[in-house]
Symmetry: C2
Subunit: 304 residues, 2 copies
């Protein structure tokens, strides 16, 4: 799908090297941020490391780093921001997989946290990963401008809470088996997935001026929704072994998705439109927004 995106193979190779470098970088940052596996309490720390390391494509960290490059954000700040966002994301996956939520046994190709450990540990892992995200962002001396640091903490807290990610998850749980409108579906995903993706971009771009931040918001909102539409498409089109999580789960769970509401063809078209909107927002910045441009392609073109 979307063959017209990113026709330049050279750019993609450059991007691939950039992404690989950043993925290794965030892995190192997370590795040194998470408490050591042999630090008390050991089971909890082991389980936190199990759940947050070696995980996924690190799309949120990549978005954060790309925004930081556009806005000239200090590397140390970008590292902390990317780390905090990935920790929040990791916590949300651990809790979402629990029996009382999606009850998913598989995550990133491994047993999910509550399967590998137990439910109590998974609950505490999620709780502690969330705390750690805020601990990382509140390190003394992280930002030369302390008001930036406070803003970052506030953006992340709002994106994670009841009017952000947790709120979206609540609407998602409540919508199982119900017919909901496209607008409601969009709002649910804007909270459940979009809010944290937007936070990733805004945290990376904390050093940007108002013009850049406004553009980044528009970019992030569209790419966040595109991400979710693609996720719904993948849930239908891919299989579990390539997804690294249980495929067909949404349909099996009778959850409304972009595919169930729009159909597969229109869902793909919608993803394309969101992608176009995201790129339009970057136009004023030309080459300096290259990585964000490429990331939009990476997110919407994800092959399985």
């Amino acid at each position: 799908m979307m063959n017209n995106i990113n026709s330049s193979e050279t750019a993609m190779l450059d991007f691939s090297a950039w992404a690989t470098e950043k993925q290794a970088r965030i892995e190192n940052v997370l590795n040194s941020t998470l408490p050591a596996a042999n630090a008390m309490p050991q089971t909890l720390h082991n389980a936190m490391r199990y759940s947050a390391l070696e995980g996924g494509k690190r799309v949120r960290a990549l978005l954060c780093y790309a925004a930081s490059e556009l806005c000239g954000t200090d590397t140390k700040v970008a590292d902390a921001a990317a780390c905090a966002v990935e920790l929040i994301h990791a916590y949300s996956l651990v809790h979402d997989d629990m029996p009382c939520m999606d009850d998913d046994d598989l995550r990133r190709g491994k047993p999910s946290c509550h399967k590998q450990f137990d439910d109590a540990t998974a609950l505490l892992v999620g709780d502690a990963l969330q705390s750690l995200a805020f601990e990382v962002l509140s390190q003394t001396g992280l930002c030369a401008q302390t008001n930036h640091q406070i803003s970052m903490l506030n953006i992340l807290a709002k994106a994670s809470g009841s009017t952000g990610m947790a709120g979206g998850q609540a609407i998602d749980s409540a919508s199982v088996g119900k017919t909901i409108s496209r607008a409601d579906l969009e709002q649910m995903h804007q909270l459940k997935t979009g809010a944290l993706i937007q936070a990733a971009v805004l945290l990376g771009g904390i050093n940007g001026n108002i013009v850049k931040i406004t553009a980044l918001s528009t970019y992030a909102k569209n790419i966040g929704l595109a991400f979710q539409v693609i996720d719904d498409i993948l849930d239908v089109e891919a299989d579990s072994s390539t997804l690294g999580k249980t495929a067909g789960k949404d349909a099996n769970n009778n959850k409304p998705t972009y595919v169930s509401i729009l159909g597969l063809t229109d869902a793909k078209q919608h993803a394309q439109q969101l992608y176009n909107n995201a790129l339009d927002a970057l136009t004023p910045f030309g080459e300096s927004a290259l990585r964000l441009h490429e990331l939009a392609g990476f997110i919407t073109q994800r092959r399985f």
Copy 2:
């Protein structure tokens, strides 16, 4: 027990009026901080309000306000600090009561959150209350000194995480049915209950100088442990209706407690010693630490 504490009835009356005023104050702050019950997603917001409002004696908020009075911390800052600490405490109770943890049906005399709503909602309530705590403390313009604000966020994050409250909870879960030493029990409680109580005092005292903060740390550490020893004593001596939660739970769950390790008499003596240590730390401040002094009595004398 401990009849020699707070013999002045007049001081107790003054304290009682002060505590009642602060309890009403924190209730108002929480009420206006929590999203409205009719704000989307409604069930989640209703459940958050159900879990965080009209709750308990607000010991942590009282400690926070008392420390703020000793250190001349701005009222607005003290309100935010007390609110954030109570939100973290409320989240911990919601998660601790869940079936995969203590599986407790009763909390503060009402059905616990997962009984009143459901497990998925309780999970998200805890998650969202934690985020809200960090949102409250990261409001733009909260502190004139932004480095104070960042310190407050960092203290709360550390106190909540895997080397604080969540870590203590993990050790607690792992210790069921095991024989542990008094030192290990003390360390577990220092994390599980003590860390957040210490955070409450330190956040309230954020405006204090190094002498006051050091003294507050010692005070908080001792009173936090005393609080837990008393909790263990209450679990044996009180009944469910007066406790507002299921009594005898620890013994039934084969959990090590101060009573099971020290025996009832020595546990009471230990509480008295911790109380004395806490008061000793306040000695240099005389009358200006009156409320903290009285709170130590309030915590260790709690009648049922």
